[in-house]
């Protein structure tokens, strides 16, 4: 038995009371740590943007305040030794909310925007690593704010990976193959959470640093190099200038971006083994080969479908766009809504498919797509040979039936969410194609969408897109389980109150 993988099984009725207290502690602890980290990030942003004193001072003040207060408090909070995955997820949600709160305050204090909804939406998009910006006039914003804005995506991407490792059993169904996120065959031999976190940090930090250096060599300024590397590696896509990467009009920068966006779509586990020098793992990974194949086919298809518009330049443009879309980074090229319908449809299909599992990116993800296709094939073969037993495999590894069942559920939820998103966006006033592509794009935490004008978002559109982003970022199962828990919890609370009411009176 893989005991650590299934804490709910160990939990008796007697443990319920302690667990609930422990999870509260964990939530508080996580949100305090989130504010410490955010505070440090704010301080860093303030230091970077010292040239413009007023906003820098605001960020410095907020940052020092946050980290000092939270840092003092965090020592008093105890952490349960064996939190359940659900408790970890709940903690992550509260940490997420705390980060969004602090970031909203930062935008408002620096005067980057005067409206509260704008600030909240920008923060949600940032921490969901989605490139949906509502801040007007990017170029006039102070350097400190721009740096902080990129940093929110970097932190959001890291938090997503940490959550994947931490609330792991909840994501197993979504990931199909257990253990891969830890880089080891299964959960029983997976390293402890701290080790995993360190490995993720090493990979994430190394790749970001390499990316920043490459951008600088390719000709970006220091601020841009760091900001763009943050948003590239986290698959976020915020830029300091309007017009995506085309602003720089440099083949070198676009090539660097293409390589690192493609890397950002590769599972951290695979990258970890690459960092350790185990190149064999790369060749063995069926998912990686599938991902690279999809990238290549996608680039070829988009280049062919837009060839009439620019000839060989179409290939370069296709390479940048397809990697940005596949990894759900979302640097969008100018005027892609005018591309041929076929190219737009291919791009939306790539957005929906997404990169590899175990990345900060979104979408359905390669591993699930492979498993779903294999599952369908298995069901077909069973029709012809009803008495044989077929095992669904990814590469050489077999997939158990339970994760497959959950994967199918995930697939249905994904499709339902897209449909619901289209309906919501169309009610809010979008046309059908724009709504469909924007809904898929937000669910994949990508952001911009071909055929959709997301420049000036209305209230209704913002709400729908924010819900889609959060769904895409935190995944369906944990959120639905949390919602279910909230409903039953509230009901239990209400019934308890009802039961206690007369007794309290007497």
């Amino acid at each position: 038995m893989r005991a650590p993988a299934d804490p709910p099984a160990r939990r008796g009725t007697a443990g319920r009371r302690t667990r609930s207290r422990a999870s509260t502690d964990l939530a508080l602890w996580a949100s305090l740590w989130a504010s410490v980290v955010c505070g440090l990030g704010l301080v860093l942003s303030g230091l970077v943007g010292l040239g413009d004193l007023a906003p820098a001072a605001a960020l410095l003040g907020l940052g020092v305040g946050c980290s000092a207060v939270a840092g003092l408090c965090v020592r008093r909070v105890r952490v349960p030794s064996h939190p359940s995955p659900m408790a970890i997820f709940a903690a992550a949600c509260s940490a997420w909310s705390m980060m969004i709160l602090i970031s909203t305050a930062a935008y408002l204090l620096t005067g980057a925007t005067g409206s509260l909804p704008d600030a909240i939406f920008e923060s949600i998009a940032g921490f969901c690593t989605t490139n949906l910006s509502v801040l007007p006039q990017l170029e006039s914003l102070p350097a400190a704010v721009l740096f902080w804005r990129a940093l929110t995506q970097w932190l959001g991407g890291f938090a997503a990976l940490a959550l994947l490792a931490g609330a792991f059993p909840l994501y197993v169904p979504a990931l199909v193959l257990p253990g891969d996120i830890a880089g080891l065959p299964d959960r029983a031999s997976a390293p402890p959470f701290g080790t995993q976190l360190r490995r993720i940090a090493v990979v994430y930090g190394t790749v970001s640093a390499l990316c920043a250096a490459s951008y600088a060599i390719a000709g970006m300024g220091a601020l841009d190099a760091f900001s763009y590397s943050f948003t590239t590696i986290s698959t976020g896509g915020f830029g300091n200038h309007p017009g995506g990467l085309e602003y720089f009009d440099s083949t070198a920068i676009e090539s660097v971006a293409t390589v690192f966006m493609a890397l950002a779509g590769v599972s951290v586990v695979t990258l970890w083994w690459a960092v350790r020098g185990r190149w064999g793992v790369l060749w063995q990974s069926f998912e990686l080969r599938a991902y690279l194949l999809v990238l290549a086919v996608g680039i070829a298809a988009v280049a062919a479908l837009t060839w009439s518009d620019g000839g060989p330049a179409a290939l370069r443009r296709a390479a940048v766009t397809v990697t940005a879309v596949s990894s759900s980074t979302g640097f969008e090229p100018a005027g892609w809504s005018g591309w041929s319908w076929g190219a737009q449809a291919v791009l939306v299909a790539l957005i929906a498919t997404g990169g590899m599992a175990g990345t900060a990116g979104g979408g359905f993800q390669m591993r699930r797509a492979i498993a779903a296709a294999r599952y369908a094939y298995r069901e077909l073969v069973t029709e012809i040979h009803p008495h044989t037993v077929h095992v669904v495999k990814i590469g050489r590894r077999s997939v158990a039936e339970r994760p497959l069942a959950l994967l199918n559920g995930y697939q249905i939820l994904f499709a339902t969410a897209v449909l619901a998103g289209v309906f919501g966006l169309s009610l809010a006033g979008m046309d059908l194609w724009g709504g469909a592509s924007a809904s898929i794009s937000a669910l994949a935490t990508m952001g911009p969408a071909p055929g959709a004008d997301l420049g000036a978002l209305e209230g209704g559109e913002r709400i729908v897109l924010a819900v889609m982003m959060v769904l895409g970022r935190l995944s369906f199962f944990p959120l639905l389980v949390l919602a279910r828990g909230a409903v039953t919890g509230t009901r239990r609370l209400l019934s308890a109150e009802r039961a206690n009411g007369p007794r309290m009176h007497s």
């Binding site: 069901e379 077909l380 828990g485």
Partner: protein, 513 residues
């Protein structure tokens, strides 16, 4: 004896002619012979109408079809042992051959399509035999009555084929009515009405023919509808096809009565025919026991209410008009009928409705009608099972070791059936995705392409966007039309059958090579 001979022949020097033994071609021959009476009736109507001269092409087509049918039926005999997997290629071949030979009158008549537009003729024929109702025929009213009647008849035949499919093939896939029935009815009853499949098929054909007659009579009773109109429309209503001998479809009559009769007929056509049979035998409660059929009616009611509200509040139409057009178009889309009621002063052009309304219509197209009917789409029970599965996975994610069954109407659905439905979902998404990518690459805009592909897979008829009810499928490029026609066959044969048939045929070819 025969087995022994076959064993001996493997050693003989004179090769036996293995091609003489072919189930697919034998059945194709039989199906083609069924078409001949229809062609002859169409010839007579064309001859009697005297306004056009399409009788010779129709007669020639009848002769060719009869000749091919006789040759195939007599020239090939079914093999001694038929395995379940042999059935899938049969189904695919039957639909293909019928569609190809059914297109003969269209190409032989130079005034209709002619040889230069062979692909349009094939599209029209496939759209007919799959009971889809998408058309590339531009000036419908200008053509002869007999040719148009043949066009209507192809859909009637398509519906007839669908009834056989429902009793003979789909149960093999484990997704027909039978498994569900077994699960849902407490007693020993099942979808099987007679001991043999052929007996069941005959009974269901009787129901189908009876339904056609009833609709024809009811339509004829509506003022303003002639005998020809009543019969021609009844043929396509029972098969939930959607062809009409008028360019204006039902809007041609501008009659609420005709719309109501048609809508009722389509609903009947989109519900299980074996349930109709049971009801005729006095077991009216059979409907109530089939939860998917009841849900289908509820979906129609809910969608009608929702769309009425959206039309009334958002498009500023009067409530009565909104209700009338919402009801007719919801029925025609949910049953995969595909008629339209565009008329002066009405709201029939649903491609011009507001985007949220169109999303609802798209979902209706996707879901389709009840199991065991002539409607298309993924079918309500699949939607039910998928939804139930998605809900249980939430519980499984919370408690990974719990065992949660999928239930439908209080009965547990066996896991293999759930697995097949889920596999079907993936195959649907793959067919949809590949189809959309090809059609958009050939130049259609995404809304038209997506809705066109869904419409083809669901055997609906008109789509949204540019291919809406006021337009037709000529907006698609010619290669794209062939892709859509292929998707119609894929959708008609419930996707799995086509994938399986293709797999079996490919394996066969591979072995030959």
């Amino acid at each position: 004896m025969r087995r022994a001979l076959r064993g001996a022949s493997e050693f003989s020097l004179v090769p036996r002619a293995p091609h003489r033994q072919n189930l697919s071609l034998h059945v194709v021959g039989l199906a083609l012979l069924f078409l001949v009476p229809g062609l002859i009736i169409a010839t007579l109507v064309e001859w009697a109408s005297a306004t056009s001269d399409g009788e010779w092409p129709l007669l020639l087509a009848a002769l060719i079809t009869a000749a091919v049918g006789v040759i195939l039926f007599r020239g090939f005999r079914p093999p001694d042992d038929v395995r379940p997997s042999d059935v899938f290629p049969v189904v695919v071949w039957t639909w293909l051959w019928c569609s190809v030979l059914g297109a003969l009158p269209y190409v032989l008549d130079a005034g209709f399509f002619g040889w230069s537009q062979w692909d349009s003729a094939l599209f029209e024929s496939i759209s007919g035999f799959t009971a889809s109702g998408s058309t590339v025929l531009v000036d419908i009213d200008a053509h002869g009555r007999g040719m148009l009647l043949w066009r209507q008849l192809t859909q009637w035949y398509g519906g007839m084929g669908m009834v056989v499919l429902a009793v003979s093939v789909l149960p093999l896939l484990g997704v027909g009515g039978q498994e569900l029935m077994r699960a849902e009815t407490p007693g020993p009853e099942s979808d099987r009405l007679a001991p043999r499949i052929s007996g069941t098929a005959k009974r269901l054909w009787l129901v189908y023919a009876g339904l056609t007659v009833v609709i024809a009579v009811a339509l004829f009773a509506v003022p303003g509808v002639g005998l020809y109109d009543a019969v021609a429309h009844a043929l396509t209503v029972a098969g939930t096809g959607g062809f009409s001998p008028y360019g204006g479809s039902i809007g041609h009559f501008e009659s609420l009565g005709a719309e109501l009769v048609m809508a009722t007929g389509m609903i009947a056509g989109a519900m299980s025919f074996s349930l109709h049979y049971r009801a005729l035998r006095g077991d009216w409660r059979a409907y109530r026991r089939a939860s998917d059929q009841m849900l289908f009616l509820k979906i129609i009611a809910f969608a009608t209410a929702l769309i009425t509200l959206l039309l009334w509040l958002r498009q500023g139409a009067s409530f009565g008009l909104s209700l009338r057009d919402a009801f007719f178009n919801v029925v025609t889309l949910a049953t995969s009928g595909g008629f339209h009621n565009i008329r002066p002063g009405g709201l029939g052009d649903f491609a011009a409705w507001t985007p949220p309304t169109q999303v609802v219509l798209g979902v209706l197209m996707l879901i389709g009608g009840g199991a065991g009917s002539t409607s298309g789409g993924m079918k309500v029970f699949r939607a039910q099972i998928s939804a139930a599965h998605a809900l249980r996975t939430v519980r499984l994610a919370r408690r990974p070791r719990s065992v949660v069954p999928v239930k439908l109407g209080g009965a547990v659905i066996p896991e293999p059936v759930v697995g097949r439905v889920l596999g079907f979902g993936t195959l649907y998404i793959i067919s949809f995705g590949v189809g959309t990518l090809i059609v958009t690459s050939l130049g259609a805009d995404p809304v038209t392409a997506v809705s066109g592909v869904i419409s083809a897979l669901s055997n609906m008829g008109p789509a949204l966007g540019e291919a809406g009810p006021s337009s037709n499928f000529t907006v698609f490029a010619r290669p794209a039309r062939l892709v859509l026609a292929g998707l119609m066959i894929v959708g008609r044969l419930e996707i799995t059958a086509v994938f399986l048939g293709a797999a079996v045929i490919l394996r066969h070819l591979h072995r030959r090579l």
